[in-house]
């Protein structure tokens, strides 16, 4: 564990030095994210100009859900996204995955943390206060037990999101040139910003159980605003562990088919 923390710190430092040389990239990437947040807020403004609540959630609760979902996404964008995406675009196709197989570390973790974008964490400076402000403005009484369970489930949500990201790129072991899978999570992320109640039963099963992208953000947010329900907590823990096991299994299966051939 300590070894991974040390490697991670070195890679973060490296990212800081590297990205500091590219202020243009850092600024445009930062502006892009701020703009994305602004546009989303305008969009929610347009929706709530016509309604009082969306599937039982008021405006500020939905803003909280959005901000919380973005916090998880941004944290992974800054930390693991680039590394994981490179599995789909470069590492397997060019045979560069050899490098990580030959190291005395877990290849899945090593690939995930190999290319952090440390400056992307800056967006959290806006998102965390937005989430706190929205939670306060929601007008829903939030108890200490809600907050504690929220943080516990948020931790599980963070890990579950990581497993889902990995799951998306695992097909790269079999389909060598399928770059689009690197972008799948960006599209699926959109589900996370809305209350699950707006979706039909079929879609709900798909996004809460089969590919639980909405579980990542919705369950922790739900537990913050409403009395903690044991079945939610058990489900969140169970599904995270289940997906962890599935991802581990599929990754090792894929790794066995990896032939190191480049093209």
């Amino acid at each position: 564990m300590l070894r991974y923390i040390k490697i991670n710190l070195v890679l973060m430092r490296n990212s800081f030095i590297r990205d500091s040389q590219m202020p243009g990239y850092v600024i445009s990437s930062f502006l892009w994210r701020i703009l994305d947040i602004t546009i989303s807020l305008i969009f929610f403004g347009v929706i709530f100009a016509n309604i009082q609540n969306l599937a039982g959630w008021n405006y500020w609760q939905v803003i909280f859900l959005y901000a919380f979902a973005r916090i998880i996404i941004v944290a992974h964008n800054a930390w693991t996204k680039r590394g994981i995406q490179s599995m789909a675009t470069d590492l397997i196709r060019r045979g560069e995955f050899d490098f990580y197989l030959a190291k005395p570390v877990d290849p899945m973790i090593m690939v995930s943390i190999k290319s952090p974008r440390i400056y992307n964490f800056i967006t959290l400076i806006f998102l965390i206060p937005l989430a706190i402000y929205a939670a306060i403005k929601s007008g829903v009484p939030i108890g200490l037990d809600n907050v504690i369970w929220f943080f516990i489930l948020a931790g599980f949500g963070f890990i579950l999101y990581y497993f889902l990201m990995i799951l998306c790129v695992i097909p790269a072991f079999w389909f060598i040139r399928l770059w689009t899978i690197a972008e799948i999570m960006d599209k699926l992320n959109t589900f996370m910003r809305y209350p699950a109640g707006i979706f039909s039963e079929g879609i709900k099963i798909a996004i809460l159980v089969i590919f639980p992208i909405v579980t990542v953000s919705y369950f922790p947010a739900q537990i913050l605003f409403y009395p903690p329900q044991p079945e939610y907590i058990v489900f969140m823990i169970f599904i995270t562990l289940l997906f962890g096991a599935v991802v581990r299994y599929l990754w090792s299966l894929g790794q066995r088919t990896y032939s190191s051939a480049s093209s």
């Binding site: 243009g24 990239y25 445009s28 990437s29 502006l31 892009w32 703009l35 994305d36 546009i39 969009f43 347009v46 929706i47 100009a49 016509n50 309604i51 009082q52 609540n53 969306l54 599937a55 389909f175 040139r177 399928l178 770059w179 689009t180 899978i181 972008e183 799948i184 599209k187 699926l188 959109t190 589900f191 809305y194 109640g197 707006i198 979706f199 039909s200 879609i203």
Partner: protein, 264 residues
């Protein structure tokens, strides 16, 4: 002309080799349609509203159906001019006996053709899924819609080429192009119908040329634009397109003089 047709055909064949990539991209792009479908159904159902900003639920769902199609025609991701100027491979196009700009145009068009071809079954699937909500155009408006989107492609090319040509003078523009493209697509109405915007903001968005890329064609499809306004719209698209194309021509011509072909 023949050599450009061959170039288009070769590009089409080359990109079609990786059709699985396009297919996966299209399948996951459809997610947006289903999210907005669920979202607006919930919005309209929540307090029994029949219309928002002159849009019924059927109008709104049709809007997203048309938008999902127009996204397939969006050339933003298919133009490689900036990247090739920056890495020097642009030289390869310059030294060959053809117009480099036409080549980028044909490469983008070949990918648009693939996207349309692969999108057809999915469009049918969406149509069947949301049949009761989708408004079909009259024959006249269907023809007007086709002309509008063709003009929209021209406008989109002109705007994008302007941005890409800035690479000659300003260096790597990938980040800025992505940023500006994102802003343009928002201003164009790719996220929600512009009519949903409140007063002053709506007027501002409507005054910009970008609405001709998404919002205007979608409204033409839904028979919401009178024929005379469609004609005025076409003149405006052409006007804006020619203006952006002239700006591009100036930047490009000056850019060629300073292009060193060094590559990075």
């Amino acid at each position: 002309m023949k050599k450009y047709l061959s170039y288009f055909y070769v590009s089409f064949r080359e990109f079609f080799t990786y059709k699985a990539d396009y297919l996966v991209g299209i399948i996951f792009s459809l997610i947006y349609f289903f999210i907005y479908f669920s979202l607006w159904k919930a919005v309209f159902a929540s307090n029994g509203q029949t219309d928002i900003g002159n849009y019924t639920l059927a109008n709104t769902i049709t809007y997203y159906f048309v938008i999902s199609f127009i996204f397939r025609l969006d050339v933003t991701d298919f133009i490689y001019l900036s990247n090739e100027i920056w890495n020097g491979t642009f030289t390869n196009k310059l030294v060959k006996p053809w117009n480099a700009v036409y080549c980028y145009l044909l490469i983008a068009l070949s990918q648009v053709a693939i996207e349309i071809l692969l999108y057809i079954p999915f469009a049918i699937f969406i149509f069947i899924f949301a049949a009761s909500y989708i408004i079909l155009p009259t024959l006249t408006m269907a023809l007007c819609f086709i002309v509008t989107i063709l003009l929209g492609i021209f406008l989109s090319f002109a705007i994008n080429f302007c941005l890409h040509a800035l690479t000659f003078r300003l260096g790597d523009q990938e980040g800025n192009i992505n940023l500006v493209s994102f802003i343009i697509s928002f201003l164009a109405g790719s996220i929600f119908p512009l009519t949903f915007l409140p007063g002053a903001l709506k007027t501002f968005f409507m005054a910009l040329p970008f609405r001709y890329l998404f919002d205007f064609p979608a409204n033409v499809f839904m028979n919401k634009v009178p024929l005379n306004e469609v004609l005025i719209g076409w003149v405006q698209i052409l006007g804006w397109g020619i203006l952006f194309w002239l700006i591009f021509a100036i930047i490009y011509k000056k850019g060629l003089k300073i292009y060193s072909g060094t590559g990075r």
